[in-house]
């Protein structure tokens, strides 16, 4: 009896927390993020309905069928009902997967459009480094044996390679607004993860692999990037920021950085 009401209260409580939206996603800053939100709320409606229905029925059954001296019905099941609800859930669940996969495909399989800005991301315990090709448009050669954090060379750029002399290195990632950017994610030690909430994008960074990730950010601003894969004792401190700037400001910044002596 009390349990029925409690189940209902908890159900309503959970639903109102979702509807209340006090603790919710940050505003989206890209088309993908927007699509994500649309799909998420669609899912939330359906899942919410199932939640309400299932918990509601549970509460109802608890209330209605509590022992009031009545005899229980003898019922060993109902094959037709069984088939119906199996089919219905199968269709709903698989339908979800199919719809969601479109969004997934747009992130990881869509190779259309040229990313004019290419940035190399290097994660290491417990900091971030980003590398931009200078005016020559080429990243310099690297080798682990040249890695010298103290000398400002976390990437191990080969000083002999002229292409590397103008590379720009930054500890926060800056990108121009409205332009397709392609990151190449690399790690020097353990697995890390690049996550920007406002982009609704997350990707593990695996040592030994160079993983591409493309996005186009449409809103200027500064966004936090928390490392989101356990990487050791400093995991919780491994954060940086994504700074989305106007295209002009971005070019100015890049040029200024390039002129700085390294």
């Amino acid at each position: 009896m009390g349990l029925a009401i409690l189940v209902w209260i908890l159900t309503v409580g959970v639903i109102s927390l979702c509807v209340g939206g006090v603790w919710w996603f940050p505003a989206p800053i890209s088309q993908h993020a927007f699509n994500f939100d649309t799909h998420f709320s669609r899912m939330l409606w359906v899942a919410g309905a199932i939640f309400l229905l299932a918990q509601g029925l549970l509460g109802y059954a608890i209330l209605r069928f509590r022992d009031q001296g009545h005899p229980a019905t003898h019922n060993e099941g109902n094959a037709r009902l069984e088939v119906v609800w199996t089919m219905v859930t199968a269709v709903v669940f698989i339908g979800f997967a199919l719809i969601g996969n479109k969004i997934w495909a747009s992130v990881h399989m869509d190779k259309s459009g040229d990313a004019t800005i290419k940035i190399e991301v290097l994660a290491k315990q417990f900091s971030w480094n980003f590398r931009y090709p200078g005016p020559d448009g080429k990243l310099g050669r690297t080798d682990v044996k040249f890695i010298r954090d103290s000398a400002g060379n976390p990437f191990g750029i080969d000083a002999q390679d002229p292409a590397g002399r103008d590379d720009v290195i930054s500890s926060a990632i800056r990108v121009p607004r409205g332009i397709l950017v392609e990151l190449t994610l690399r790690s020097r030690d353990v697995i890390h993860n690049f996550f920007v909430r406002e982009l609704r994008l997350k990707q593990d960074i695996v040592p030994g692999m160079a993983i591409p990730l493309r996005f186009r950010a449409d809103k200027e601003g500064t966004y936090e990037v928390p490392c989101s894969e356990l990487c050791g004792l400093g995991h919780h401190q491994m954060r940086t920021t994504l700074i989305v700037m106007s295209a002009e400001d971005f070019q100015i910044w890049l040029k200024d950085e390039d002129r700085k002596p390294r």
Binding site: L3, A54, N78, E82, V107, D189, V190, H235
Partner: protein, 556 residues
């Protein structure tokens, strides 16, 4: 009571004792973690006493937090959820329920328990060795777990302890699995054909099959990891790593290979944790609704489809790992497909109580609570099973909320339900129902209050396995969620004392139970209850005032 007993009842109780110890320790660790998360700078003198290195001066270091987290997860998943329902209740009640005099191989049962015990000791030893317990979580992803002490203090000897523990646990589970399957196939009494077995037995059967196929993979993966760490091989470690400015001498391995092996085991593992619970809940619902299980056959088929499909969904833990985006799509389809039999079971549970005459014993309350948390935890799985949504939620607190609900809390509820249900059979005495009711309500409200806020932290984007959240500006306004979680955890943990108190009181002082106190129908209730207590002289016949002309020695 012999310590190295081959009696299945004794072994069942030994497993349960081990699980209760582990759950108590696991909860204490989680409370310390929760405390740290709301007061990261607090100076607690006994921290310094317990962990002179990890908490010098009483302030917890991040590495200590991560160690507690890793041991908490490992204890809970392996030593609680994979022992109590299967090794504990399974060893005790499987023979009784199928009318077998004992397990197929009593000595094997004993070995499997004591190997599990050694595994637990190996895990706990990690706290005592240099560097302390490992900090790479219960999933131990390399290279973090493979590089040794350069990767963090607990990654030295502590990590080796962890691997040894897990390897021993795998071997013990394989022994248990062989024993269970053989018992069910070859030891059923006359007339007990498979389709007449109680669903509890089906739960143990299917779980044993999964264990048989899954633990060997974990064992193999553990050995490979051990070799990478100690023999200089490169299965999981790629070339050219620079850790703490040291170039590592390895070449060409793949961190993702570990993830494939681990999750090929790991996903079936969550079914190992929950399937016996599903069997128990089906039984308990039917006993106390006074109705047959709705769709018995469908329940059996659902368990088998879960077991089979469950071996093909491991990739849903790896959507974001850098594995091929095409395989993600396949994995997500199968993942949502495995949701279907789980949903069917939920429908059938509702069908079982529908039209019934429900008796709200404590055991029944926990079974009903199980259905509720199973629904709550299952629905978030629909989100996480899609790579598109995992793009945001992977490794956030949303995941922590999800798996605690569906795996942790649901399975614990099933364990409680079973404990209250079978207590009279195990100890010949009754647990106090009023205390039980209070225990249930506090726990039920408590788990929602602990784990629902975690989902919202996840929606905000809070990453899991963070020793503190001070530096993340976007979480500045979520302190209240953290505090609700922590205070609820304190209260819920305190409510468990009620259970332990009630348990020990009933064990020694509880009112005597009759042979079949719940009017249940399965075979274990035809036997006299455990520990017959003798109350009077052997020859009490024709006592005035008694209905019958004899009073058994065990009657009062």
């Amino acid at each position: 009571m012999k310590i190295f007993s081959t009696d299945h009842k004794v072994i069942g109780k030994q497993y349960l004792t081990l699980a209760f110890f582990s759950v108590a320790l696991g909860i204490v660790l989680s409370l310390i973690m929760r405390f740290h998360l709301i007061r990261p700078d607090a100076k607690i003198s006994w921290f310094a006493t317990l962990w002179p290195v990890g908490a010098t001066g009483g302030i917890m270091t991040p590495e200590l937090y991560l160690s507690l987290m890793s041991i908490h997860g490992t204890l809970m998943v392996f030593f609680v959820l994979s022992t109590a329902p299967q090794g504990g209740f399974g060893n005790y009640f499987l023979p009784l329920q199928i009318g077998a005099p004992k397990m197929a191989f009593p000595v094997l049962s004993m070995l499997s328990f004591w190997t599990t015990f050694l595994a637990l000791m190996a895990l706990l030893a990690s706290f005592a060795v240099e560097g302390g317990a490992p900090l790479s979580g219960w999933t131990a992803y390399p290279p973090l777990s493979a590089l040794g002490q350069v990767a963090g203090p607990g990654q030295g000897l502590g990590m080796d302890c962890w691997i040894v523990s897990i390897a021993l646990f795998s071997i013990a589970s394989l022994m248990g699995a062989i024993n269970f399957i053989t018992t069910i196939l070859d030891m059923r009494t006359e007339g007990m054909n498979l389709m007449r077995m109680p669903l509890t037995c089906w739960g143990w059967f299917v779980t044993a099959i999964i264990s048989l196929l899954a633990f060997g993979v974990l064992l193999a993966a553990g050995i490979l990891l051990f070799m990478d760490r100690n023999l200089g091989t490169s299965f999981f470690i790629p070339a050219g790593l620079v850790v703490s400015d040291q170039l590592q001498n390895h070449s060409g391995g793949s961190p993702i290979l570990w993830q494939h092996l681990f999750w090929f085991f790991g996903h079936p593992e969550v079914y190992i944790a929950i399937l016996p619970g599903m069997g128990i809940v089906s039984t308990v619902l039917s006993v106390f609704a006074r109705k047959p299980v709705f769709g018995y056959r469908a329940m059996v088929y659902a368990m088998f489809s879960i077991a089979i499909l469950g071996f093909f969904v491991w990739g849903h833990h790896m959507f974001i790992s850098g594995m091929s985006p095409y395989s993600s799509i396949a994995f997500s389809l199968i993942t949502l497909a495995v949701g279907v039999p789980s949903a069917i079971k939920t429908f059938n549970w509702l069908g079982t109580i529908w039209g019934g005459k429900i008796r709200f014993t404590t055991s029944m309350l926990f079974a009903l609570g199980f259905v509720s948390v199973f629904v709550s935890g299952g629905l978030t799985g629909l989100f996480l099973g899609q790579p598109a949504i995992d793009l945001y939620f992977h490794d956030t607190y949303f995941v922590v909320g999800h798996f605690h609900m569906i795996m942790g809390v649901a399975a614990i509820f099933a364990i409680f339900s079973a404990m209250y249900f079978w207590f009279p059979k195990m100890y010949g005495r009754m647990m106090n129902d009023n205390l039980g009711q209070v225990h249930f309500y506090l726990t039920f409200i408590g788990v929602y209050a602990i784990f629902i806020p975690m989902h919202f932290l996840g929606i905000l984007g809070a990453p899991r396995r963070y020793a503190d959240f001070k530096e993340l500006e976007f979480l500045a306004k979520s302190g209240i969620l953290q505090r609700i979680t922590t205070y609820s955890a304190y209260c819920t943990a305190a409510a468990q004392l009620l259970f332990f108190g009630s348990y020990f009181y009933a064990k020694w002082r509880g009112p005597l139970a009759t042979i079949n106190p719940w009017d249940a129908t399965t075979l274990e209730w035809t036997e006299p209850s455990e520990s017959n207590v003798v109350n009077h002289a052997p020859d009490v016949y024709s006592l005035p005032g008694e209905e019958k002309d004899f009073v058994m020695q065990s009657d009062q």
